[in-house]
């Protein structure tokens, strides 16, 4: 028997060569990188003296960006797995309210309230996923239903139990709680104190905290955001499970035939999204000490927008966690930056829409270069 046919020619005369640099550049997060550079350049030029880049200013937009990042990581992995979740915003409201009800109304220890809330919310995420898988309905519809259901309960429960729509007093309850500190505290306080003493960052001038540095630590929110981004990125790009996420979103049928446990992957991603939403809610509740029925409104869109700005494909199978994190950063910086730059606040939405459009068009162009798709 002869060997197989002669090798096909290594190059095709009908295709022009793509330069090495260009090839190195085309990756999902390129759009996000360009956007970040653009946005920072813009604000460095227009809002440098507004305090946006003082220690306090940086902390401000970092915190806002970190918030977006936490939910964007979940939304990103879920979107790459081919689904999305419109109930994220309602889940945030619901999770916060549950913690408040368990800890304040029912008087449970805060760690217990947090744990049971995580269990509850992750189960709801699993339920979302289960319904999507079993009925084959688009996740848009299923999670839209849960958007209403969860928000309904978030308003109804405190209304019925406590006759209010905001439950406060969680800070007092959380005093000294080991788990609460993981969500509400700050780290590196010593470092910042030292920086303040050394005159490297500003200190308060008067009041009860005179002499303390204006930034007295990194909020746990930011730590969570960074941790989730790293975990998400490693999971997606470095593990076999990550490959399954791509496969499940790229073509569920093909993946299933190749032995990828697609249903499990999708349900786990719904659970992870719910987990991220609950982390968001817990940090918020622990920082602010109260839970409100209107928390998290429209956050589902913000998460999706960050992910899409970061280069992921709405239809699944393509995207990057780093991209989503950059998307969240852009979003946060623009949102706070417009305030710093003193732009009329009602125009904020207009900017948001325009940036969204611009970013996705840029990303589409990049993706077409990668895949050769037309």
């Amino acid at each position: 028997m002869s060997e197989t046919a002669q090798p096909t020619p290594a190059t095709d005369e009908r295709i022009k060569e793509i330069s090495g640099l260009r090839r190195a550049l085309i990756r999902p997060e390129l759009g996000g990188i360009c956007g970040t550079v653009l946005v920072f350049t813009f604000f460095l030029l227009t809002a440098l003296d507004s305090g946006m880049f003082s220690a306090q200013g940086v902390l401000n937009w970092s915190t806002v960006s970190a918030q977006f990042m936490i939910i964007a990581v979940g939304a990103c992995l879920l979107m790459i797995a081919g689904e999305f979740d419109l109930s994220v915003g309602s889940m945030i409201g619901f999770a916060g309210m549950m913690i408040a009800i368990f800890s304040v109304t029912l008087g449970w220890p805060v760690w217990g309230a947090i744990l049971i809330t995580f269990a509850l919310c992750v189960s709801i995420g699993a339920l979302n996923g289960f319904i999507v898988i079993r009925t084959g309905l688009p996740s848009f519809i299923v999670t839209l239903a849960f958007l209403f259901i969860l928000r309904g309960f978030t308003i109804y429960l405190p209304q019925t139990i406590e006759r209010k729509t905001i439950i406060g007093g969680i800070s007092e309850a959380a005093e000294g709680d080991w788990l609460a500190a993981l969500f509400g505290g700050k780290i590196l306080g010593g470092l910042f104190q030292w920086l303040g003493d050394a005159g490297l960052i500003a200190v308060f001038e008067r009041g009860s905290r005179a002499g303390q540095p204006v930034v007295d630590g990194i909020p746990m929110l930011i730590v969570w955001a960074i941790a989730l981004v790293i975990v998400g990125h490693v999971l997606l790009t470095r593990t076999r499970f990550g490959n399954w996420i791509f496969a499940a979103g790229g073509d569920a049928e093909a993946a299933r035939n190749s032995g990828v446990p697609v249903n499990r992957v999708k349900i786990l991603m719904f659970m992870f999204t719910a987990f991220c939403a609950t982390v968001f809610a817990t940090c918020q509740v622990m920082e602010f000490g109260s839970a409100g029925a209107d928390r998290g409104l429209l956050k589902e869109f913000e998460a999706i927008i960050a992910v899409v700005i970061g280069g992921a494909l709405l239809t699944g199978g393509y995207g990057s966690v780093i991209g989503a994190a950059l998307g969240a950063l852009i979003f946060g910086v623009v949102q706070q930056g417009l305030f710093f730059a003193g732009v009329e606040s009602s125009l904020f939405r207009v900017f948001l829409g325009v940036i969204l459009l611009g970013a996705v068009i840029l990303n589409t162009y990049i993706r077409r270069m990668i895949t050769g798709e037309r």
Binding site: S50, G51, M52, S54, Q56, G57, L59, N60, W61, T63, V64, I155, Q159, R163, K164, T165, I166, G168, G169, I170, S171, A202, F204, E205, R206, G207, S208, R209, A210, Q212, V214, Q284, E287, F288, G289, S290, G292, A293, D294, R295, G296, L297, L298, Q336, F339, F340, G342, S345, S346, F348, R349
Partner: protein, 292 residues
């Protein structure tokens, strides 16, 4: 930047489509012009109070001379406000919160109308008019202050709030038809309380349509063009005016004078509740929705 040597920021908790805050914007614009200071208006686009906390932090970071803010959730906003005070920014609390809370966070003063008290006063007034049951049309159910108004009104009447408060949503047709549906199902209702133009305007039309206009006892919070018309026509018995204009205007004036000349009023200022009735409506009418 700007024409003034002093920079102030007003932070509200309202989503940016809420019409009531418009008067506030006009109030600070006028005060800014008259005092020769720069005043910016900031709000969380969706009305999310956690976002509002970030905006206060942001405002503090941009180093203004003063911040005027609402205190719609003490727990959420206390931290950022205290930080702002500590970093040398003077703060005045307006609109929501209580004088006690304002003192606690280290604000200079409080200008506004305690919501529960306003509701209570209205309830007591209605009780005096012989009312025993009511419908509270809540178009902003997730905001605690709107619930407090209804609760205060119920307590003023001395009745249980219960199902008498409905979540009406913000679509005028839905508000109108929900009111109609409620009145249809509960024809024995004595009074209606609406919480602002958003719910009052469609409710007026609803009463027009089912013929109860003028027949049912109708009170409302906050003023607007149609509410003023309603008061004039006798459909609405009274409107509780918390005078948003003052809530915006006075803090700016106070801050500017404090920063320039070191003078400060010795007390908090209650801008409301003032009951607007059919007497003395002309000025109200002219400026409703703009300065009233």
């Amino acid at each position: 930047d700007g024409h003034g040597d002093l920079n102030y920021v007003l932070v509200s908790h309202a989503p940016d489509s809420d019409s009531w805050w418009n008067t506030i914007k006009n109030g600070i614009a006028l005060a800014g012009e008259q005092m020769g200071v720069e005043v910016e208006y900031r709000n969380p686009p969706t009305g999310d109070l956690a976002d509002m906390a970030r905006i206060i932090e942001q405002a503090a970071a941009s180093g203004p001379d003063g911040i005027i803010t609402t205190l719609s959730d003490f727990d959420v906003l206390r931290g950022p406000i205290e930080d702002a005070v500590a970093s040398g920014v003077d703060v005045i609390i307006m609109n929501s919160g209580t004088p006690e809370q304002a003192r606690e966070v280290g604000a200079l003063m409080y200008v506004g109308q305690p919501e529960y008290d306003a509701g209570l006063a209205a309830g007591q007034r209605a009780a005096g008019d012989g009312i025993a049951s009511f419908l509270c049309v809540n178009h902003y159910i997730s905001s605690p202050s709107s619930t407090e108004r209804c609760q205060g009104f119920a307590d003023g009447l001395g009745v249980e709030l219960g199902n008498q408060m409905i979540d009406s949503g913000q679509d005028p047709a839905e508000i109108k038809n929900r009111v109609l549906a409620y009145l249809n199902a509960n024809p024995e209702t004595d009074a209606i309380l609406t919480l602002g133009p958003t719910s009052a305007d469609p409710t007026l039309l609803a009463l027009d349509e089912n013929g109860m206009a003028g027949d049912i006892y109708f009170g409302t919070f906050d003023l607007g063009e149609n509410i003023v018309e309603g008061i004039k026509a006798g459909t609405i018995q009274w409107g509780i005016d918390q005078q948003p204009f003052l809530q915006a205007y006075l803090p700016v004036v106070v801050l500017a004078n404090y920063h320039r000349y070191g003078v400060l009023p010795g007390n908090n200022i209650n801008s409301g509740p003032g009951f607007v009735t059919v007497d003395g409506l002309t000025l109200v009418e002219e400026y409703a929705g703009e300065y009233r």
